[in-house]
Amino acid sequence: MLSLFVFAPAGAALVLLLWRGLPDRVVRWAWVGVSAAEIAAVAALWIRYTTDGGAGIAYEVNRAWIPGAGAGYHLGVDGLSLPLLALTTVVFCACAVYSLRHGERARQFAALFLALETTCLGLFSALDLIIFFVFFDLSIVGMYAVIAGWGHGAQAARSALKFFLYTFVGSLALLVGFIGLFLAAAPHTFDMVALTRQNPLAGSGATGALVLLAIAVGLAIKTPTFPFHTWLPPAHTDAPAAGSAVLAAVLLKMGAYGFVRIAMPMLPEQWRHYAIVAVVVGVLSALYGALAALGQTSFKRMIAYTSVNHMGYIVLAVGAAGMISGGDAPARAVAVTGAVTGAVTQMVSHGLLTGALFLLAGVLLDRGGTYEMGAYGGLAADTPRFATLTAVAAFGSLGLPAFSGFIAEFQIFTGSFATVPVGAGLALPGILITAALFLWALHRLFLGPSKHALSSAADAGGAEIAAIAPLLALSVLIGIFPRLLLDIIEPAARTVVELVAR
């Protein structure tokens, strides 16, 4: 059943690809239909998971694939992956709805996105390192095709290549790390559950450190953290709106998810030893991303850099979670669990809000022809619906209470202050800078004298609102009723912390 859920979009993609005569309208609605069905499926998975107790791995599929090489077809869902699976389906559906009115070569575009959805769902439900790697690599290939094929601007091919090379290097570093784990395990296996149980590199000295280095570099490139983030701004700037939304909202989470799913539970000793590095990198990313975003004049580049900032908090949180050991007081473990919970919540929150912001950036480019914020001004009066949506998304993204971002960042900081007060204190200005830059961006876009020729006809249309508003509504829902999400994450986060502390 989980396999069907994961591979259904790919099957639909194949049909769309082979059925050449299909009219564009049908293609677009079929895409929306499949994405909506995936949301329904994930809702069903969610409800059954919570009614069954809401802990541990559910819906497991475990079959032999390449037994000679230690790789199995092992999928499953738990409290870490379920929120991300839900996020994936929601964001992809939003892109499908958004694309009802946008984009050329609809058939290929829809097929590509559906295939990409399968890679994301597969990655978040993978319980075997090779399956994880397969989907990780395929998502890179798919995203490359999106940027190279549908990107705008003269640099699109170049940005796509940069994206591919960077993240491909990251994926190969991951592969090296995976092979290290594989060879350390007895019997040799790539199975995540077995590797987590075995903790194969405990007390292995330099080997363990090098394996962690390989895995961490691979994940850090994807996340991305400072100093591996340089592929991100060009990729986002040149990608089509739906591509940017998926890249930021879902693909970046693969890196962050890898930390809590692979690096922390499988290499606990090494993670604890080098957690300070993650803290430092997290703080640097948060500050650097915020400052770089502050300096942007392009709306889309600015959002891209705020992604670096938001992902920095996640890295800070997982680093703070490494500052724990088995003999610590229970209060510390609770605080650290809060940090990990906050990190996962931040993944979801960032996905929803940044996905919305990138789609809004697409609307902006569609109407005004540029991302330069200086070219607009006064949009609040001319395009009120667009201005409202953007303002809501921006306030959510800067961490205003009643939005998911506040819940996430609050937990991250309370958890981090308990273990790494200095690091958390240093990262805190990031929130202030982000608030300032979003307000300033809103100011430039929406207030003051109008410098553009847009009339109210340029306001956000029905499909665009239908794509963006639900993302924001979900963010508010999580902000007001956080337990809906936290109840499912917390048990899994507790398990991760226990695994790290052993």
């Binding site: 000679g68 090489a69 090779i130 290549l161 591919f164 570093a173 594989f182």
Partner: protein, 469 residues
């Protein structure tokens, strides 16, 4: 003695096919020469089936331990005929109607026979004979087109081949002088007593021949010119079939050489230099054939990683065989795309291919990304197992280098793919004469590359046995 002619049925079928095709070529009128092609195809198919049936039996050595029939030989007996079958199919448009079409088939069959014999040779003298049988037909095949490119290809190949062959024979003599025997099962006892220096020089000289066949540094100079000069079908064969025989032969012979001669380090260095040099040289290429030629050199580098750790881990052989099978089918797929589009001589000419030839483009994408090692294709499984084996065998540095090279290789494969998806199709040559058989081969090979990757479980299990002597 264990003299069982029937145990050599797959090899005999190839020989019979070659002789019959030759007779067809000599006695049939020119209009009916295509019969030779069907003879060759049936001989290959028969050999493939016989090899597959024999693979199910137990491993043994025949003819006084001079020829081993085990997992490695069985793999070659299946992969080599299958590869040659695909190659004569992809070459059929170019070959059909040519005055010397039967010669092409005869030479291809003999080269395949040589490659299979190389992989099974368990005696230095059989190895020498197999080397000659696998090499001499290639000279003719490289020059088969009878144009200036073909002449250059044949000449380069011949000069390098003759040199490598002489050095190899000298190496065999030295090993014989040291141990007093030529059978591998006796060498393993005799060589440790021989002077280490003699054995070391002998091994290096012996490897010269095998590295030439595999197209590895420093015997790689023939590869780009031969691949560009020869017809595309011949080029595909030159870069696929001999590698299979040579690498298995190298594995088999090296496992009987004492490690204290230092061959693992030598092989690791050769592997490192081969993959790096092949990749660096591929960056600057603008002709698909030359790009593929350098790509095959770098692939040999990865394959040699498994040979380098032959003595230290039993993961090496399954990895080598799995990689060889995946490489063969993927490489042929890429050459088939080139063969299907004879009027696109440079990478830039592949502009807008995606709009005009979606199936060929899909095959090209799968094969090139497959050569990079993108999952879930066959070469990915090959790389995964080879990297694991190399690390397991204590050569972690080589794995890191190979990973860096893999990342670098992506760059030039994408240089080929990118034009295919960009540009407008208006100003392109008319492609009514697209070679249909080659298109079918390209799509088949691409599908096989994916199928071998997805269904790698049984494959890796099937090749998971050690060699016998």
């Amino acid at each position: 003695m264990n003299e069982k002619p029937l145990a050599l049925l797959p090899e005999l079928l190839l020989l019979l096919g070659a002789v019959t095709a030759l007779l067809c070529g000599s006695f049939l009128p020119r209009g009916r020469q295509s019969v030779a092609g069907w003879v060759a195809a049936s001989a290959l198919a028969g050999s493939l089936i016989a090899g597959a049936v024999a693979a199910a039996g137990s491993a043994e050595t025949v003819y006084d331990h001079s020829y081993a029939i085990d997992t490695a030989t069985s793999t070659a007996r299946i992969v080599v005929p299958a590869a040659t079958l695909l190659i004569i199919a992809l070459a059929s448009t170019r070959v059909a109607g040519d005055r010397r079409q039967s010669e092409f088939y005869v030479l291809a069959l003999l080269a395949s026979l040589g490659a299979v014999l190389l992989s099974g040779a368990s005696d230095l003298l059989v190895l020498a004979v197999a080397y000659l049988l696998a090499t001499i037909p290639l000279y003719g095949l490289a020059g088969w087109g009878r144009d200036t490119g073909g002449a250059e290809a044949a000449l380069k190949l011949y000069l390098m081949g003759a040199l490598a062959g002489v050095i190899m024979l000298a190496g065999i003599s030295l090993l014989y002088a040291g141990a007093g025997v030529t059978r591998y099962d006796e060498l393993i006892g005799g060589l440790p007593a021989a002077p280490t220096g003699v054995v070391a020089v002998g091994v290096v000289a012996l490897l010269a021949g095998l590295l030439f066949k595999a197209g590895a540094v420093p015997m790689h100079f023939w590869v780009p010119d031969a691949v560009q000069g020869a017809t595309t079908g011949a080029a595909a064969l030159l870069t696929t079939v001999p590698k299979i025989g040579a690498l298995i032969a190298a594995y088999r012979v090296l496992t009987v050489i004492p490690v204290d001669t230092g061959w693992p380090v030598l092989l690791a260095i050769v592997s490192a230099v081969t993959m790096t040099l092949g990749n660096l040289a591929a960056f600057a290429q603008s002709v698909p054939q030359r790009l593929l030629a350098y790509s095959t050199i770098s692939q040999v580098g990865y394959l040699l990683m498994a040979v380098a750790v032959a003595a230290s881990t039993d993961r090496a052989l399954p990895a080598l065989l799995a990689y060889l099978a995946g490489y063969a089918v993927t490489n042929i797929g890429a050459f088939a795309v080139v063969a299907a589009l004879p009027h696109r001589p440079t990478l830039d000419d592949y502009r807008a291919l995606a709009r005009r030839q979606p199936w060929l483009t899909a095959a090209l994408v799968i094969c090139l990304l497959g050569l990079v090692g993108t999952p879930p294709t066959a070469v990915f499984v090959g790389k995964l197992t080879v990297f694991s084996a190399a690390w397991d065998g204590g050569m972690g540095w080589l794995v890191v280098l190979a990973v860096a090279n893999t990342a670098a290789s992506l760059f030039y494969y994408l240089r080929w793919l990118r034009p295919a998806f960009t540009g407008r199709s208006g100003h392109l040559v008319c492609e009514q004469d697209r070679a249909r058989p080659a298109t079918v081969v390209a799509v088949t090979a691409a599908a096989a590359a994916v199928a071998l990757g997805l269904g790698a479980g049984p494959v890796v299990d099937a090749v998971g046995h050690a060699v016998i002597r």
